[in-house]
Symmetry: C2
Subunit: 430 residues, 2 copies
C-alpha cells in the first residue's frame, strides 16, 4: 500500500534530480552513496547508540570512530575529499575536525615553505594532531586584547609562552580537551628593546605552534595545564573535546612562529609583513563555511518535519470523518514551507560564499592581492549572523511542528538545533 509520502512524491512535476544538481557538486551524490554504504556495514557508526551516552562516553566513541575512519581510508584508498565526506557523514564535529578545518589550513596559509614541509606531512599522518587556540576565558571577540604572551628570549633563541592570569586561559578550543598534541596559539608577540634588552615591546597577536602533549605518552608537557571544558548546552557538540590550556613559561623554538608574513630574526628583530592584512587568522575561513552548513542542517530538519506532518493526522474536518494530515493545516504549511525555501537559499548562497572565499585565499596567498579581503570579511560576517539567527530559529520551529514527538531526542531535530545554535556565538556573536 502506498504511504501518504509515496503519494506526495509521485504527484509532483518537480524533478528532484535536477534540484539535487543545483545543490550538489557533480558526482557528489554517487560518492556519498558509495561511502555511506561502506559505513553502514560497521556498527560503530550506528547513530542510534549516541543518545544514550554521556559526554565522556561520546568522546570515547568519537575517538574510536575516527580511528576506524582512518583504517577505512587506508583500506579503500580514499582521497582527501572522500575522507572528509566520510567524516561529515558522522553528523557531528569530531575531535579532529578543527585539525582539518583550522590547524592544517592555517599552517598552509601562514607557514613558510620550510614550515609546511615539516608540519603538513606529519599532520596528514595524524602524528601531529592540532587545534587552533585563539579564544581566551576572558577574551572572545576582542582579539587585540588577548593576554597570552610569547616573549622572545634572544639568549636561547626561543619563545616563552605564558598565561599571565586565570582569565588568559585558552578556552573552548575544539580538539584540545583530550586529543591534540599541538596547538596553534594566538599570542601577543613581545620582543626586547634594542636599547634595553630587559624591556619588551608588544607587536600584537601572532601565531605559534606549541606542542602541548607528549608524542610518546600523550601526557601534558611541562608547564602545560590542560583539559576538557565539559558538556555543552543541549548536549551540542557532544563528540568534540572542547578544551582549555594554560601555559607556565613554556619554551618553543623560534621556528615554531608561523613566519610566512611577519618574521622574528635570530637576533630578535621584527620583519613586518608586506601587508598588515596578510596575517589574518582562520576566523574568516571558519565563518565562510557556516551558512552552507546551516542551510543543510535546516534542510534536514524541514525534511524530517514535512515527512512527519504528511503522515501525522489530527482532528477530523467533518464530524465522524477521517482525521486530517497535519500538513493540510494552514498554520503548519505557513510555518514549514518558508523554512524549506530558506534552507535552499542558505545552501546556494553559502556555496557561493565558500567559492568566493577560496578564490580570495588563492589571490592572497599566491599573489599577495588583498583587494577582496574587506568585502569577504563583511560578507562572511553578514551571512554568518543572518544564517545562524534564521536557521536556529527555523530549526526550533520545525521541531515544534512535530508536537510532542519533536521533543523526543529521537525525533532528530533536537540534536541539529543543539549544534546549530552554537553558531550564533562562535566566530563572533550574532
Amino acid at each position: 500500500m502506498p504511504t501518504p509520502l509515496d503519494a506526495i512524491r509521485t504527484d509532483t512535476t518537480i524533478d528532484s534530480y535536477k534540484v539535487g544538481n543545483l545543490l550538489f557538486d557533480p558526482g557528489y551524490r554517487e560518492t556519498r552513496i558509495r561511502i555511506a554504504s561502506i559505513l553502514s556495514n560497521d556498527r560503530i557508526f550506528d547513530k542510534s547508540l549516541r543518545p544514550h551516552l554521556n559526554h565522556r562516553q561520546l568522546l570515547h566513541l568519537s575517538l574510536r570512530i575516527f580511528k576506524r575512519l582512518l583504517e577505512l581510508r587506508d583500506a579503500h584508498g580514499w582521497s582527501d575529499l572522500e575522507f572528509t565526506l566520510a567524516c561529515r557523514l558522522q553528523d557531528e564535529s569530531l575531535p579532529t575536525s578543527l585539525h582539518d578545518a583550522a590547524f592544517v589550513p592555517v599552517i598552509a596559509s601562514q607557514g613558510t615553505q620550510e614550515q609546511q614541509a615539516y608540519w603538513l606531512p606529519r599532520c596528514k599522518r595524524y602524528e601531529v594532531i592540532g587545534c587552533y587556540a585563539q579564544t581566551e576565558l576572558a577574551h572572545g571577540s576582542n582579539v587585540q586584547e588577548l593576554e597570552t604572551a610569547a616573549r622572545f628570549d634572544v639568549t636561547s633563541g626561543e619563545f616563552v609562552i605564558s598565561s599571565p592570569r586565570l582569565e588568559s586561559t585558552k578556552w573552548w578550543i575544539g580538539g584540545l580537551g583530550v586529543v591534540a598534541n599541538h596547538a596553534i596559539v594566538q599570542a601577543v608577540l613581545y620582543l626586547p628593546l634594542p636599547s634595553n634588552p630587559l624591556e619588551y615591546k608588544s607587536y600584537g597577536p601572532h601565531l605559534f605552534i606549541v606542542p602541548v602533549r607528549s608524542l610518546g605518552t600523550h601526557e601534558p608537557l611541562p608547564g602545560i595545564t590542560i583539559g576538557d571544558i565539559g558538556p555543552k548546552a543541549y548536549g551540542g557538540f557532544g563528540m568534540v573535546d572542547n578544551g582549555y590550556v594554560q601555559f607556565r613559561e613554556v619554551r618553543i623554538p623560534r621556528e615554531n612562529m608561523l613566519m610566512r608574513h611577519a618574521q622574528v630574526t635570530l637576533t630578535g628583530e621584527y620583519v613586518r609583513p608586506a601587508h598588515d592584512k596578510l596575517s589574518f587568522g582562520s576566523m574568516v575561513a571558519l565563518r565562510a563555511g557556516i551558512p552552507v552548513n546551516l542551510g543543510w542542517s535546516l534542510a534536514r530538519a524541514v525534511t524530517i518535519a514535512l515527512r512527519y506532518c504528511i503522515h501525522r493526522r489530527q482532528f477530523a474536518a467533518t464530524p465522524g470523518g477521517p482525521e486530517q494530515p497535519v500538513i493540510t493545516y494552514a498554520s503548519v504549511k505557513h510555518r514549514l514551507y518558508p523554512l524549506l525555501a530558506s534552507s535552499y537559499a542558505y545552501i546556494i548562497a553559502g556555496r557561493e560564499l565558500w567559492a568566493m572565499y577560496q578564490k580570495m585565499l588563492e589571490e592572497v596567498v599566491q599573489r599577495g592581492n588583498v583587494e577582496s579581503l574587506a568585502e569577504m570579511h563583511s560578507l562572511s560576517i553578514a551571512l554568518k549572523v543572518k544564517s545562524s539567527t534564521d536557521c536556529a530559529k527555523g530549526l526550533e520551529e520545525a521541531r515544534k511542528c512535530m508536537g510532542g514527538h519533536g521533543y523526543s531526542h529521537m525525533g532528530g531535530i533536537g540534536p541539529l538545533f543543539a549544534n546549530a545554535t552554537a553558531s550564533q556565538t562562535y566566530e563572533g556573536l550574532s
Copy 2:
C-alpha cells in the same frame, strides 16, 4: 575588594526584600533556606554531578534522590508543603512529580469518597505510585479520538482495557517509564447495549485506575507492555522516566473507574454526571501551573545572565582604556532588562491564575458550580501559550547574551531552556 556585583547591589534604592514579598508567600523564603541547608549537606543533591550522566544514569540518580527525600521528610517531620518544596529544589521533574501533580489530584477530584479513602493513604505512603496516562502515540490534543478502550464485561463486573493498535500506545507518560505501579488511564468507555449485550456503545473518554506493575516484584503485570521512551531533546526532563504502555485485554475491577461524577452500575448502566463539564481531567490543572513556573525559570536565567554581564568586560571605550562591562552595552541592556520585566509579569500573573484555579476547583468539587470553568479553560490556555512562547524565546536570548560561556552546559541557562521549551508542546501546542 567589592566585586562589580557588590557595587550594583549597594547602589540601588530598590528594597529587594519588598520585591520578594510581592513574589513569595509569607514565610516561604525562611522555609526554603531551612530546607536548602538540610539538602546541601547531602552529596546526592549536588547538581554539578548531573551534566556528566546519561539518561539511564540520571534516572538512577533521580530515584536515589527521591528515596533520600522521603527519608528526610520522615526524619524532619516535613509537612506536605515542605516536602513539595524539597522536591522543587531539585530543579528537575522527578519520576514521582506526576504522581503528586496529576495522579493524586485527579483521584481527589474525580474519585468517590470510598475511592479516595482507599487510594489516597496508599499514595501518600508511595506504596501506590501513579502516573496520568492520557496522550497516545497518535493522539495528543484530540482527546475525543483516543483509541484506548475500556469495555465493561457485565458477567465478571470488570472493565477490559485494551490498545487496539500500535498508534493507541500511551506515550510520553511521566513516571510510567520505570517507576509507576499504577496509571490513571483515559480510555473510551464501552457499555453493552441492553437490547443486544454483544454490541457495545461508546460513551467517550473516562478515567480508570489500572495497576501496571506488580507491587511485589515491580514486574509488568500480565497483558502490559511498558517502558521508558528514552532521552528527550536537549537533554530536557532527563530525570523523568517518560514512558509508554500498551494494554492487551487487561482486566480491572469496576471499582477502578473514577466515579465521582459519571458512573457505571453493576449491571452495566451508565449514570450521567450532573453536569458534563464536571469530569474535566487534570489538563487544566497542569496548564494553570505553567506560567508561574516559566516565569521563575526566566527569572533565574536573566539573573544568571545579568550577573555574568556585570562582571564580563569586553572592548575599551577609548583606545588603551579599560574594557567595559558588557552590561553597559545598549544591545545587551535592551535584550536583558525587558526579559527581567517579563519574568516578574509571568510570576505575578501565574500566581494569580493558580489562585483562580484553586478557587474554581473548590467551587466545582464542593458545590458543583461550573460557572467559571469556561473562563478558566480559555485563560489557562491563553496564558500557557503566551508564557511558554515568550519564556522559551527569552531563555535562549539570555543564554546568548553570555556568548560562548552561555553555550557551556555549566553556564546554567541551557538546562532551563531544555525543560521550558517542552511547555510549548505539552498540554496543547502553543
